[in-house]
Amino acid sequence: MNSTYGIVAVALVALLTLGIGAIGLRFSRTTSDFYVASRSVSPLWNSSAIGGEYLSAASFLGVAGLVLAYGADMLWYPIGWTTGYLMLLVFVAAPLRRSGAYTIPDFAQVRLQSMRVRQVASVLVVAVGWLYLMPQFQGAGLTLRTVTGAPTWVGTVLVGAIVVINVVSGGMRSITFVQAFQYWLKLTALLIPVFFLVHSWTDDGRPSPVAPDDWFTPFGGTDGPGLYLTYSVMVATFLGTMGLPHVVVRFYTNPDGRAARRTTLIVLALLGTFYLLPTVYGVLGRIYASDLVTSGRSDTVVLELPSRMLGGTTGEILAALLTAGAFAAFLSTSSGITMSIAGVIGQGLTRIERGTRLPLSTITALRIAAAGGILVPLIMALSAERIAVANSVTFAFALAASTFCPLLVLGIWWRGLTAAGAIAGMLAGGLCAGLAPVLTLAWRPDGWLGVLLGQPAAWSVPIGFGLMVGVSLLTRSSVPGNVSRTMVRLHTPEHIAVDRRD
């Protein structure tokens, strides 16, 4: 593939991202600006931003790659990522906005009045964020290698650097603009080539994909673990979305709970529209690029199709457009997660600073945290063995679903939740869902054990919920005294005058 167009595309996205970020910088002056855009973003802007932030490398490249390799069963991933927002809408959106919390640790503290819970939640935010960042960085390396032939680490380091510059310089305000722009860029980048590709496929006499039977039908091999895997993916994605740190922080930028709900509904529409497209790439890939499966590069199918099916300048330009979209995906998701990791680490730093009297302002702390927080996943991405992008993102979802989902759902709807219960549930759910990917990567067990560790959500989420409820019931006497008032605050529409003090 001629690499000039691709390099131009990557450079343009990088410059635009930094450029819009710089414009936003002029608006962000206060700490509140820096964290959450002063809560003044309209539902359409906000939902575009959520869409932009949420559609990661896994959505842009990963889904098509999985469909190419494994067929019908893989359609569950995008469905799960969309349904996750529906679950977030019905269980979490408005009350979370009304809680007034910036982050999940904030929410935990407001609801349970416990520093210990806050600390556990903070550690988990960082863990989920790192698990989510790693595949983004790896995907960036893969994309740049496919397009330009550069070594894999170049793309990884490039994305890491741009994200740090962007977060450190502009904060959330500029990120909202950048993210909203990137949703539309990603949609366009995936949509326009589809017309050309489908046209070329029609000219070809509409050949059918050639594949074994189990590619076409769900659970082709009925005796395998297919059913367990599908349900486990469903549990992880349906319930994990509400616990992703970069998703939750976005709800604070809505003016009120009502707007938070509307934003979520628009997000459902935006995601549903976007997810129609990767399937087309996957199916066309099966027809024109099935060799990518055997060479283990199915994640690149989206980028490879234009040059294979169209060739010439058209193919190269479309490939460049897709590269731009892919880079938008890496940049937006990584910026969002880095921002929320930085928020949590930054809050921790300022707290330590109060003890040691280091001259450290909140914003400086946030900047240091952003730069520091990105190093670990960068190193993980450079050293760990590559697994399919969409699969490894699911580990982050499983971890969020096993820890933050119980915390949020029980915290919002059940008066009986106690600090001890929350900690027990998060630790147990976190250990189960956190160790599973480590064991899978390090030791690659076979058979059912491998299956259970590869998709832990179906058993780790019940453990998290069960312990949280069980231990809360055992420590019933320590239910926070202000629970009734907190509940009123979470559930009452903002325009009704009620006592909202902590």
């Binding site: 359609l75 679950m87 769900p218 399937t279 325009h495």
Partner: protein
């Protein structure tokens, strides 16, 4: 207050249950009934059409119905608490 929370929770659980019985039941349906998986619409196998396209408007519709429901509950609650300014919900 408790009744508002209860009605909101009921709306949320209704959506969750609907999901479980519709989307959640799809894998079992595909597994149990070969006729569904072999059914073609305009050359596209039914599972691909359902999973790749039809699910998404369904999810949006569920979300839309839910929002109407909970906003009505909030309006009723506002009328109950502050009858004089219930019109601004």
């Amino acid at each position: 207050m408790r009744s508002l929370i209860r009605s909101q929770l009921r709306a949320a659980l209704t959506v969750a249950l609907t999901l479980l019985l519709s989307v959640g039941a799809l894998p079992l349906t595909f597994m149990a009934f070969d006729t569904v998986t072999e059914f073609d619409v305009l050359g596209i196998p039914a599972p691909w059409l359902i999973l790749g396209v039809l699910v998404y408007p369904g999810l949006f519709g569920l979300g839309w119905v839910y929002i109407r429901q909970v906003e009505r509950a909030e309006r009723d609650f506002a009328e109950l608490v502050q009858p004089d300014r219930a019109d601004d919900g």
